[in-house]
Subunit: 174 residues, 2 copies
């Protein structure tokens, strides 16, 4: 026979389902908005992380760790961004195995052009849905969930500095 009713009707399914729906709807909305500036959500994410980093550059492996992509997925994403002229690769001088992804002038121009409308969209969604206090609460609750399911990301936002050249805290908005 089938499973017991308390398993099928468990209230946590509702929370999980809303998390998926909220994320899907949020992503779709951002995608639609960014499309007007000829950026995908993924491209915006990469360019934004580079923009926030001193020197406008990040190691491929760091970028992969910060995004939802694997190393090979990121390699191909940077391939496309490089082909579009928004990013260029540079060899890491201190460790020649490594490669930097560096924001080009065109890349900075593109992300800069998209940013005002993107922030306006974020304000419309978040400020339209929540009071300031609720938004603080929501952010805190999200952080706790993130820490529970993705401890690596939680650690990554408090990086230990190794080279004076790099500052991963600036690259990690959360």
């Amino acid at each position: 026979m089938g499973p017991t009713d308390d398993l099928v009707q468990h209230p946590h399914h509702t929370t999980a389902g809303l998390l998926v729906e909220a994320m899907a709807g949020f992503g779709a909305r951002m995608e639609k908005e960014l499309d007007q500036h000829h950026l995908s959500v993924q491209w915006f994410d990469v360019l934004m992380r580079l923009l926030r980093t001193p020197g406008h550059r990040l190691r491929m492996s760091d970028l992969a760790a910060q995004t939802t992509l694997t190393a090979s997925g990121l390699t191909r994403a940077i391939d496309r961004l490089e082909a579009a002229g928004l990013v260029r690769r540079e060899v890491c001088p201190s460790d020649r195995r490594g490669a930097f992804a560096v924001l080009t002038d065109a890349g900075e121009a593109r992300i800069s052009a998209a940013l005002p409308a993107h922030v306006a969209e974020l304000e419309e969604v978040f400020d339209g849905s929540y009071t300031p206090a609720e938004l603080v609460t929501f952010t805190e609750l999200l952080r706790r969930l993130r820490d529970a399911v993705n401890p690596a990301a939680a650690c990554a936002s408090i990086p230990e500095r190794e080279d004076g050249d790099r500052d991963e805290a600036a690259a990690k908005p959360a």
Copy 2:
């Protein structure tokens, strides 16, 4: 020059980033757990929706509307589920254009076997991160965000009754 600092450092980027990270980590955790019962998150989602439906069947178009997949994406997902013997297709007798996806006995057995561990995982994540009151708050805040960014889903969860509370749990298991 680059964009103004208040756009780059806007706190909403943090909330948006946490939403993405929380969702990614949550999905990865569910995927890892379900894998032990030979189910992907997507398969679990489809089978769960069929399990919760009277007759254990849904129209292809309804299933597509409830998931994040397009019509063609759902067709191919059902192809794979059918090849695995967990779902079968049936022609809709009243409208022969339509097709039902129907849960097979093997499909019900598979989802039933996976459900206890899946619910346990949900409890570990949610109850481990939140007090009962916080979980209620989090669910309510998620619902508001979902309604703001995905009004169609909000409507879809009120299938045929207009009274009473929306039955999210029935419509959106994972």
